[in-house]
């Protein structure tokens, strides 16, 4: 009797878990699961601060226009129409967008010019305190002309006007958000139940677990190829790997190490896709004395020491040892994604003989025969601070330490908890900092990190060169694409010669993607930007694709 009952219950379980609902047919079915490295903290774009939040939000919300595959940020060349169907410049500070009449919010309401005006108001409202507000400072107003036309006024003409007008703002639905007081906007429940106008809409968000999106089959730019996209929150890379290897997840956008890439390559159902990353790593010299910010650093105020150290580091060995070959040596403070990347730019190359000559010339010699250089009784040594949380940087630090020992330099590595590191680095209490920077498609962010205008901000080492400042300012202001490029290259060559940092590498990002998915393209600055054009042909679908939309 009990046994019979047990069997019945078990059968019910099995039947229920295997039962397939609505068999989806056709090329637009497809369900993919993405193992995403973090959980969006919000799906209210003005408040978002993490790549995970942007990755999901960019499937739900649209910008007026998207940057093109060439990553050009100057002028409007290469930009792709999104909510705006077209645009025209009325004068150098007036840009008018014509909205696509077919564009609709997920609740069916048409997208109007007031939505764009409202969006700008929200992004720049100090009560909202959007991190994006400061990049919109040069836009003076956004005004609707009529339902389908919106006018942007700039405070002054500059090359990246179009980029600023389109790249940072995801257009928000005024009719949904208007009634909510601005100050409570970022913590309102609507931030977790977004209404957008993008290819996908949110079905459900299981906190800490999964976010499920379903395609808007009437999407005005064309029907999305995949019916469902599920982001599964997976903080741990090992867990993410296990999921794609076991076939539970279809996409992992960051394999991180060469070992992981090898493991994926052995799985017949997966393929790897390599794309340039938006970050670069470097050892930043502190130009100021860590004990006394007014005084110069005893070692690194000397350009020759910096150059010698830069020449003593073998980037290729680092790339092989730490990334398993998955990366390029950087040509300056430039990630491989940027349009200004060019490996012909002059930079200091690895040359230990020259490095040693330079140091000897400065009076640093090994007088006591202990293998380390010294001068007037002081050994040539300094401290490198690194975040303890970064495994790759810990590995790299050891390799660099060894390379420097070969030229007689003693580098001591200090692993710091992230917040301690931040407070030391931002207050200038360090010798050398192992940094990593993630860039926007626009090269103009180089200015805040390395020019003298960034001192007190993101220029932690306090490098200051009036020539570099001049070159970079004119590069940013230049209206001509060709001359801008030349100026950028000259600026980079200049900073390379000054060596305020040892440029190390820009890692290549490798994604693992299930082989049944076709049309996979990845935009380096935002890997989900083109996800809505991926698709799965009916012939290659697997069980989960047939489940279709809920």
């Amino acid at each position: 009797m009990t046994k019979g009952l047990l069997t019945t219950v078990l059968c019910a379980f099995v039947a229920a878990s295997c039962s397939t609902k609505a068999d989806c047919r056709g090329d637009f079915c497809g369900t993919i699961v993405i193992a995403i490295g973090g959980e969006p903290e919000t799906l209210f774009p003005p408040a978002s601060q993490t790549t995970a939040a942007d990755a999901v939000a960019d499937l739900i919300f649209l910008k007026l226009a998207d940057i093109g595959p060439g990553m050009n940020s100057v002028g409007d060349e290469g930009f792709l129409p999104r909510l705006a169907e077209s645009w025209e410049w009325e004068d150098s500070v007036t840009l008018v967008f014509n909205l696509n009449q077919l564009a609709r919010w997920h609740d069916g309401a048409p997208v109007r010019a007031e939505d764009v005006e409202f969006t700008f108001a929200v992004y720049t409202d100090t009560l909202v305190a959007s991190p994006k507000a400061s990049v919109l400072e040069r836009i003076s107003s956004v005004t609707p002309r009529n339902n389908g036309q919106v006018e942007f006024k700039f405070r002054l003409p500059y090359p990246e006007q179009f980029y600023d007008a389109t790249h940072y703002m995801r257009i928000l639905p005024r009719h949904v958000l208007d009634t909510i007081p601005r100050v409570s906007l970022t913590s309102h429940p609507i931030t977790r139940a977004p209404v957008g106008s993008g290819p996908y809409r949110l079905v459900r968000w299981r906190a800490s677990e999964a976010i499920e999106l379903v395609a808007d089959s009437n999407f005005f730019l064309g029907r999305p190829g995949l019916a469902r996209v599920i982001f599964r929150v997976t903080r741990d890379t090992e867990s993410a790997l296990a999921q794609v290897l076991a076939g539970e997840a279809d996409v992992l956008e960051q394999l991180v190490t060469g070992v992981n890439v090898d493991r994926i390559s052995t799985a017949p159902h997966l393929r790897t896709i390599e794309y340039p990353s938006s970050s670069y790593l470097y050892l930043q010299f502190n130009m100021r004395n860590p004990e006394d910010p007014e005084a110069p650093h005893p070692l690194f105020r000397n350009r020759m020491i910096r150059r010698a150290l830069a020449m003593a580091v073998d980037q290729q060995e680092l790339i092989d040892a730490v990334l398993g070959g998955l990366g390029d040596r950087t040509i300056g403070p430039v990630s491989k994604m940027l349009s200004i990347w060019n490996d012909q730019i002059p930079s200091l190359s690895y040359d230990t003989t020259r490095a040693l000559e330079l140091l000897n010339g400065l009076g640093w010699t090994d007088t006591d025969g202990d293998g380390y250089l010294d001068r007037s009784g002081r050994r040539l040594e300094f401290e490198l601070v690194i975040p303890a949380s970064s495994r790759s940087r810990r590995q790299a630090a050891v390799v660099i330490q060894d390379q420097l020992r070969r030229v007689g330099v003693n580098m001591v590595v200090a692993e710091l908890e992230l917040n301690t590191l931040i407070s030391r680095v931002t207050s200038g209490r360090f010798d050398v900092f192992f940094g990593s920077r993630t860039q926007d498609p626009s090269p103009s962010t180089i200015r805040e990190a390395w020019s003298s205008s960034g001192i007190g901000g993101a220029n932690f080492g306090g490098y200051s060169s009036s020539e570099f400042d001049r070159l970079i300012n004119s590069a940013i202001e230049s209206q001509q694409a060709d001359s801008a490029m030349t100026l950028w290259h000259r600026a980079v060559a200049h900073i390379n010669a000054d060596a305020p940092a040892v440029w190390l590498y820009s890692p290549n990002t490798v994604a693992a993607v299930h082989r049944r998915i076709e049309g996979v393209t990845i935009r380096p600055d935002q890997w989900t930007a083109t996800l809505w054009t991926w698709r799965i042909p009916e012939s290659r679908m697997i069980a989960r694709d047939r489940r279709g939309a809920p």
Binding site: A133, I230, A246, L418, I422, G435, R437, E448, R547
Partner: protein, 324 residues
């Protein structure tokens, strides 16, 4: 009995207060600030940072923040998460049940296997199975949680594909399943993480149970039970095991904090949507309200566990009940 429980409740209020205070000041003393902009990507203005700090009351001096915080907590409000922009209680509501389910499943596996093996061993003390099981439990006991979990994932998830490797549910199908189907889906997802945490604990529990039972088996009343002509099974289960339960219950109370901290690791390996991962994230992003809230909740869970142990103890040992 009820008096003792009431006293425990008073204690837990005190514990909460101490934990809230200690955590509050510890995180305010720790370097870092929730609204420090990233040093690794595009910067945003100090103005915005200042505004964000104002929005969350961080511009006030620490003692004022502290008093406000206590007032809030007293009304059952843990504030608003800095990073998730929503009430901490909502955040907890989403993750705490998952952690509790995992912990309970792990405790069941831990104590059921651990005690069974320990009892089995002590009835065969000195035999070859006994030493084999002792070796196994010692190895398990000293296995790193993270590594063990990973091995289980690779074996049962990736190679054999018997069980899912991650999460508490299968997000692809879960919402279209019938109720029993959903339950089954949850059980399948629970097996590996609970087994990881439970088996490692079982290693220790087995060793503990073995020695506890051996100790009791040497007691006079066990000899009496044998002399009375009771069956050996009755002697072991009714007389010896019941008395060894007393020390096992103490172990249970003591193992709760370890279990919770082990859960942090297991939740990472299995992408389990629980409190452990929330705390790790909150600490690195300096999400003060979540950190303090989580510390209080963890303390409460431990207090609740100890209260359970107390009550169990009272049931198991008549001597601790008030004398008639």
């Amino acid at each position: 009995m009820t008096r003792a429980i009431v006293r425990r409740l008073y204690q837990s209020v005190l514990v909460m207060f101490v934990v809230a205070t200690a955590t509050f000041f510890l995180i305010h003393l720790a370097p870092g600030d929730p609204f420090t902009p990233s040093i690794e990507s595009a910067n945003f203005s100090q103005e915005i940072v200042a505004q964000q700090r104002r929005n969350f009351g961080l511009d006030q001096p620490a003692h004022i923040q502290y008093v406000r915080y206590l007032q809030q907590i007293a009304t059952g409000n843990f504030g608003i998460s800095f990073s998730q922009h929503r009430p901490v209680l909502d955040v907890f509501y989403d993750v705490i049940p998952n952690t509790i389910v995992l912990a309970i499943a792990a405790i069941l596996i831990d104590f059921v296997t651990g005690m069974t093996v320990g009892v089995f061993q002590s009835t065969r003390k000195g035999s070859r199975v006994d030493s084999l099981l002792s070796a196994i439990s010692l190895v398990l006991y000293s296995t790193p949680v993270f590594w063990f979990g990973l091995m289980l994932v690779l074996l049962f998830g990736v190679t054999l594909r018997w069980l899912p490797t991650a999460g508490a549910i299968d997000p692809v199908v879960y919402h279209s399943l019938s109720l029993p189907g959903q339950l089954w889906d949850r059980i399948r997802h629970l097996i590996l993480p609970a087994a990881t945490l439970g088996l490692i604990g079982a290693g220790g529990t087995a060793r503990f149970q073995r020695s506890a039972l051996l100790e009791v088996l040497a007691e006079d009343f066990v000899r009496t039970a044998r002399a009375k002509g009771l069956r050996e099974r009755t002697v072991v289960t009714v007389h010896a095991l019941r008395n060894s339960l007393l020390s096992i219950i103490t172990l249970f109370g003591l193992s709760l904090p370890a279990l919770l901290s082990g859960a942090v690791l297991v939740e990472t390996v299995f992408s389990w949507p629980g409190m452990g991962r929330l705390i790790t994230d909150a600490v690195s992003s300096r999400d003060y309200p979540v950190i303090t809230g989580a510390a209080i909740v963890s303390a409460l869970l431990v207090v609740a566990g100890n209260l359970t142990a107390d009550i169990l103890y009272r049931f198991a040992d008549p001597r601790t009940r008030t004398a008639q």
